[in-house]
Amino acid sequence: MTSLIPMVRRIIAARVDDAALAEDLVQETLTRVLAAASRVETGMLEPYAIVTARNVIASLWREQDRHRRNQHRVVDLCPSDAPDADLLAREEQEAVSLALSRLSDRERRLLLAHEVTGQDTRSLAGELGSTAGAVAAQLNRSRARLRVEYLLALDRTEPPTERCRPVLLALSGGDRRRQREVDAGRHLLECDVCARLSEPLLARGQNRDGEVCIPIRSDGDIVAARQAARELASRLGFSRTDLTLIATAVSEVARNIVRFAGSGEVVVSLLERPRRGVHVVARDTGPGIADVEQAMVDGYSTYSGLGLGLPGARRLMDEFAVASEIGRGTTVTMTKWRDQR
């Protein structure tokens, strides 16, 4: 048995750089070999030890790989610093366990089996009589839910409205279709709690290209919004004329926000489907427009403007829609297609 030690050490040292880690693996290999010694034929102990050493290394690599792959799923709220690290760690632990307790039994079992025990999706699917893809999707949903519950637990808040949870979930899952369904952007403008809680959730997906959000509060932001829209749209290769039309339309809707609502936001995004184009959403939580149809008529103006804001922007863009509710705010959605049919 002792004669195996130098050989095992050599095998492992050749594959693992970290000396301390290598020694751990040597010990683990020897323990396994020792435990199996009685079952292994005499003379076969050496090859058995070699295979065991390789397996131990392979599982280490798998572990590291899984760690690397899952790293992005961790919501890092704030890096803890020394004096209150203990307290924070305890709060965090409580938050995680509280969040876990809010998942359904099934969700919790599945998540723990995969993330903690390390069972892969295929074998989980086998146990559940499902497919690996379905299990992975279920895991994604559970993780999204866990993130939301964790943030709520850490913040010690209950969402103030019924819409909060669905919105946070949609943001956490990064599901844009769902976000549109629940009108997540508008809710974040209206709900302070969600606006605050959603920051780490949104930061996760920040690397998303092809979208800019410009907060609109003052005159200067109007210029910033139209310049950002022009810059983004230019990536699709719009002509100079079209870029000017887009920038002018954005200028008009952004000005409406400043004039009538005081503050809001303009979100410009690039579309690939159904056709390439640029999509602009301008939303505010202002007083709303009492008569949208009238506001769309040329020359209708409630301030000393030309009354060209909305009807003018409509003429500049290919698609245009206004949704407004008294007391809740206004959302203007408009699109310019890159390729005309």
């Binding site: 200067g220 210029v223 139209r226 100079r240 000017t244 039309l245 002018t248 008009e252 030309l306």
Partner: protein, 136 residues
């Protein structure tokens, strides 16, 4: 006005003022520009004003309305305003937007604008004195 490069320069050239907009202006900067210009028309007893907007990439309804207002204010103060340097895309956007700009006197560039003033543009509706009209 806050620090940084000048957004607009207003230069005096004889009886004319030449105002060049150097960069995109937001609404309040636009309003301040309007007030500055109208004040200087009085101070310098100017008879003509040229506003060079070649550097503007967007002239939306507010921008165009402000130019129109400047034209009107200047006219009431006895000066003719010529807008020069409107870019082709900007012109297209203004038309698409549906703005009526009929009251604006325009010229292609600064040179044309000065020539227009020298020849007593809009003499009928402005208070430009007769002696500025070309003799025929």
């Amino acid at each position: 006005m806050t620090g940084g490069p000048k957004l607009v320069s207003i230069l005096r050239q004889g009886a004319y003022l030449i105002a060049s907009v150097h960069t995109a202006l937001d609404d309040s900067q636009m309003v301040r520009f309007r007030d500055d210009l109208v004040e200087q028309i009085g101070r310098h007893r100017s008879r003509g004003v040229i506003i060079d907007v070649a550097a503007l990439d967007v002239l939306d309804s507010f921008g165009a309305r402000t130019l129109r207002t400047i034209g009107e204010l200047a006219r009431l103060r006895g000066a003719v305003t010529v807008i020069v340097g409107i870019q082709p895309d900007v012109a297209f956007a203004i038309v698409s937007l549906g703005m009526s700009t009929g009251s604006l006197v325009t010229a292609l560039d600064l040179e044309e604008g000065l020539a227009l003033l020298d020849h007593g543009v809009g003499a009928g509706r402005s208070t430009l004195p007769d002696r500025r009209r070309p003799r025929r």
